[in-house]
Symmetry: D2
Subunit: 340 residues, 4 copies
């Protein structure tokens, strides 16, 4: 059930609907929009009685939701959500969001050298893993909390917003302490306990698409987060697993317009994991911006050949600067009408 | 590094090697085999000095491991591991292991009715989810601890071993309290924090292959568990995600001989999730036994059309009995030489 | 439209229906079955008027077909088709059909040595490519007509039925001259001109599933052949292309029961191309028989390591004999009820 | 073997090398480039003796080729090939090539209405199928030669170059009579007899990537064509088959930079088949141009909802005009350096 408030409904009227929903033992998710507020209802087993709400003051209509998702849907919020990160930065607005940094934080010196380049490029977000999900238990697993502390310093010194991965519930506690945005990785896209925990965080969440996730599964993973009350979710297409082996993954750019058609959530692309090859990152970054993504997350390194993880896909600083120039040139000719 | 003890090495000599490994700040994993004991070493950053061990009493040889896995490997243990479950049952031995039960525990009555059928068939293991990983946050998520208590009763009454899924670390605590074997689902195959926690459990682990997992990724997920000291891992092929849509997943039976060639771990199949269609479960169960699997895990239900989850793939009792008869007939003509 | 004749309809009555269909400018496909004859009608643009036929003598009913296929369907013929090959051999009957031989005919000596082993095993069919579809234009492309002549000699000397691939229409002319069954390869499964030509042949056709073919596409490829009047089609599952790289292709054994549920055509498996690895061929052959396939096509070679193509998947004679023993043991315990 | 001529080698010196190659029973493929001519040699079983050529006048070096392809390779021709079509149009040059038209030619009126819109947009190429590869034998198969005659009229009246599919060797004969460029479809990408026939045509060839084709298989299909002497091949990425079902196919844009890195052949994209959905065509067209494609082939229709095939993906004229404007805007900011 979805309750759409009238354009001129008062906050009090909205709160009254919320109160009734809660009284029924259900959960109300009021999402204010540009034109009107809508209230998603979750927690019901069967259908909710629409007539209970339709005649309440300020209510425009009560809509039964037939799709598997409610809160991520354009039905709930017809305009795109702008997700605020770290106070004064945003993803989903007019500006192209660029999140850049190393695969893993390796040392303070490495992080600072890279952050310097990120700031110089005008990007607002710094990425870097302190906890790395590695296929082998014997591979470098990240610096842990020490890495998070370095990230917090990067924020302090360079004013960049910190986007970093949490692999478990304890990890979210730590990212909440040191970072600005929780990244949930492709392998954890259906780690439902983790999604629920992220849904109870005050931080925005960057939710990567799973390697074999359908569009619905991905959107429902976002729905898990939102159903707990955290509406600040950014989706990230990072490549799917296919038979094709000339890239590490197959970047599915059609996912961007597909998401747009269903959801108000911003969506960005990861051309680094999406290709796994240095020379492909920039062309695919251009393509991602051209297709209408709200931003991109990209791996860079001061010494790619010595990176402790994923060096093969990291851009050098020079390549990165060139990429930023190219994607901005593309972004400048993309009009809002194109990517609606 | 892998240290192979002589056939006549004493326990004391083995323990001495373990002591030295530990002294070096590394971890020793002694795995006794039919002919000899081998000791896997993990925790090293670079190469371990072989000469340090080669002249110790009882040591046959020290082998550098070039593959990404150590403990799951036939190099460490040339004969198949028999995983004991709940004391007197086993997977990986001569007997075909049959794990049967509902997708989800729905009620005491449902569980008991099904357990009755499972016992009648001669199967030793009962499956049933108390915590269900569901694509949608609004779908039935299982009875939780109440479901586990029902499972514990089933064990008490029917003497069946309980195999049930844990979706997070708290869930493992609970399965340890009520069950006999921890099931880790396909979506959590690369939930590395969960794998590590399972690696510290005293219970054996049933590790399902991820929907998009390569053979190496799956084996390395098992390696994660074993590297923490729990060597009782059973692998389960449950279908991969492909373009082919006439089944829910594509059951990759070639994975069975592929695992056999590399690993000593037992491997079973799940023809229920592997096909998602009732009428295909039995033929694929037959195929799985014919290809050499150590057992199978199958969903049955007293009233499939009313099941709260996955009813479309659940066998009726009659179909299940027929399936058991058929797979046993196949198993009887399979000789050890065929599946070595 | 599908016209089902009464069980006691006379041949004359059937022919009268065929005459009327033809008069309407359409094509009639009478398929006699155990209980009754049914007549498929193709060539119509829109719906055919059922009333035109329903009152004709001998007609039981006229059924509108809503599925995309007509002639391959169990609706047309409820019992499995037995495809006769070379007069006295068959695929789809009680006996397990074994088609064995080299990937490519390399020489008379090689073909004869292998044919000797095939005959010794009791198999009735000999495979061997004279025209090879090779990924590279610079790879060995087969001996051409010379190879077909060798195959004809093999038939003469060993009494084996010759199954061999045609890659184009001229190739079918040649196979018709020298062979007993036309093999259409996976890469040509949607070469519709070739399918139509095969549909006008008097020889039975072995139609391999394409690497990326859905069940419907595969069945409709068979429908192409049948719509031209050749009803002797055997389907062959030979593995699909997936992300999984531990095998050359992923053998989709669920395709066997899936075909059974829709079509009366026999279906066999190719464990050689389906795995691409020698050590997997026999286990998957066992699985294929257990799942209910009507037979298998397998590559063997007297000197696999010197084979001009696909040596890695060819069985030695000894392995082949062992495989035949194993699949027959499985086949013996499979009852008709299991694979219905 | 690949023989690189000196920059100042004379035509006579090149011809002398060709003569010697031919004398050896091999085939010489001289490809003139901006800086120098190189001569590919095919037809050899083993290695060719380099010393035979290295001291000939005008020869810079003789290079052994270790990769599976020779003629498509940047080793043979370091700069991109510009493929001339119909005399005065080209694909692979500075101008973005736009090929537009209906899926199938349905009537003269339809073709002319659409051609009008194509010419108005400034595009140089008209597409339209006279022979349609359809999954079902009962679906509309195209107008055949009548359709080709309509296409020839379109060329006459509108000055557009005709790109149209041939499904078999007889079809190529006809396209040679009526069209300007032979399109080989995804399903025929490994129809090797057809590739060879196209290789003997005087018309340029548009070679679509197969649904399950790896990069190497695709490039080797082009190599088949070129090895017969036709060097005018344009590659076309049109989407691959994956598990992902929110699009008809998954457009693999990383294939563009992947091709660039290996081959001198131009490469375009097909956002219509690549997505199968009207609303995705334009965003993916933009992405394809941004990633560096040399052009695109797109389906448009005057009445998409009444199209005899693929109406769901056809753009209306208005959408098409908008798309052309958008891709040109992107193309204008793409510099040669970006897509090298």
């Amino acid at each position: 059930m979805l309750i759409v408030m009238k354009a001129d409904a008062t906050e009090r009227e909205t709160m009254e609907v919320v109160r009734i929903v809660t009284e029924l033992g259900l959960r109300a998710h009021p999402l204010p929009g540009a034109q009107r507020t809508a209230i998603g209802i979750t927690g019901n087993q069967g259908a909710v009685d629409a007539s209970r709400f339709e005649n309440m003051p300020g209510v425009a209509e009560a809509i039964r939701v037939s799709k598997p998702y409610k809160l991520i849907s354009l039905d709930l919020r017809p305009e795109k959500t702008v997700v605020r990160v770290g106070g004064d930065a945003a993803i989903g607005g007019d500006e192209l969001a660029i999140i850049a940094g190393p695969c893993a934080i390796e040392s303070r010196a490495q992080a600072f050298a890279i952050a310097e380049a990120v700031r110089r490029s005008g990007a607002r977000f710094f990425r870097g893993g302190a906890y790395k999900p590695r296929t082998s238990p014997y591979a470098f697993q990240g610096l842990g909390e020490e890495g998070l502390k370095i990230l917090a310093e990067v924020r302090e010194v360079y004013g960049l917003k910190i986007v970093t991965e949490a692999m478990d519930e304890a990890g979210i506690d730590l990212v909440e302490r040191y970072g600005d945005m929780i990244q949930l990785g492709a392998r954890n896209m259906q780690n439902f306990s983790l999604l629920r925990r992220a849904g109870r965080s005050h931080l925005p969440v960057l939710l990567k698409r799973g390697l074999a996730a359908t569009l619905d599964e991905w959107l429902l993973a976002a729905e898990y987060i939102m159903s707990e009350g955290n509406y600040n979710v950014v989706l990230c297409e990072r490549g799917i697993r296919t038979f094709s082996q000339h890239t590490r993954n197959t970047l599915d750019l059609a996912a961007i317009p597909a998401v747009r058609r269903i959801s108000h959530l911003p969506v960005i692309i990861d051309p680094s994991h999406g290709t796994g090859k240095n020379y492909m990152v920039t062309p695919l970054a251009r393509a991602g911006v051209a297709v209408g993504a709200d931003g991109l997350i990209v791996e860079i390194h001061d010494q790619p050949e010595q990176a402790l993880c994923d060096g093969a896909q990291a851009l050098t600083f020079q390549q990165y600067e060139q990429m930023v120039a190219e994607v901005r040139a593309i972004h400048d000719v993309i009009t809002p009408a194109m990517v609606k």
